[in-house]
């Protein structure tokens, strides 16, 4: 298992760097060229969301991106350190900022529309979005 780890301070200008690095590593790992646009967009969405969560929560810690190359798949994990308020339907209105929640959902909507294999976990000490794509090693293509 080969891994590239990227950590960047929660600034919007670094999201582009994360997209470029992720696409480069994905290409090297054997992710189909046609899917690279989706990888770029999905990782950008996940990073933008993490940057937003860190900025609104006043969190100084960096956003973490793990690019994990495995035998037949390539995964990207974008981790944030924001406390995710778990809100129940019965919560008082205004418990969660609605505009922020909407933006958050738009990003997640794009990710889930793009990526078939995506897992979102969130808790008191941070959240993680894990996205996985299949890879085709050159030897398999020749068969």
């Amino acid at each position: 298992m080969a891994t590239v780890e990227l950590r960047f301070s929660a600034q919007p200008e670094h999201v582009r760097t994360a997209r470029l690095v992720a696409a480069a590593v994905a290409r090297r790992a054997g992710v189909d060229e046609a899917v690279l646009d989706e990888v770029r967009l999905a990782v950008g969405e996940a990073c933008s969301r993490a940057v937003g969560l860190h900025q609104s929560g006043g969190i100084a810690a960096p956003v973490t991106v793990m690019l994990i190359e495995e035998e037949k798949e390539f995964s990207i994990e974008v981790g944030d350190e924001a406390r995710h308020a778990t809100h129940a339907p019965g919560d008082a209105p205004g418990a969660v900022d609605e505009a922020e929640a909407e933006e958050d959902e738009m990003g997640l909507a794009v990710i889930s529309g793009l990526v078939d294999d995506v897992k979102v976990t969130a808790g008191e000490d941070g959240g993680l979005i894990k996205m996985t794509w299949p890879t085709a090693p050159p030897t398999a293509v020749l068969a």
Partner: protein, 113 residues
Amino acid sequence: MDLSLSTRTVGDRTVVEVGGEIDVYTAPKLREQLVELVNDGNFHLVVDMEGVDFLDSTGLGVLVGGLKRVRAHEGSLRLVCNQERILKIFRITGLTKVFPIHTSVDEAVAATD
């Protein structure tokens, strides 16, 4: 690549030509441009996205915000886009039903529906 913006007037429409990448970093510039145009009384906008290489949900949010602003003045916001990679984002978010999307600036400028 950064974001490039230029505007020109065609009849009663204002064409905003956008180039480069619209993401969480550059989207605020596009938002400012749209807000300024509406504040100056330009309520019929055509956003030409043919030069856009990348668009994310932040950019979509700005376009939706622009649409809300012009609609408050009974205006319109039309998009020009032929790029499949960009159109796909509008489709998966259901925004193809919200924005009229044209294949050329001429077509968008002539549209009246």
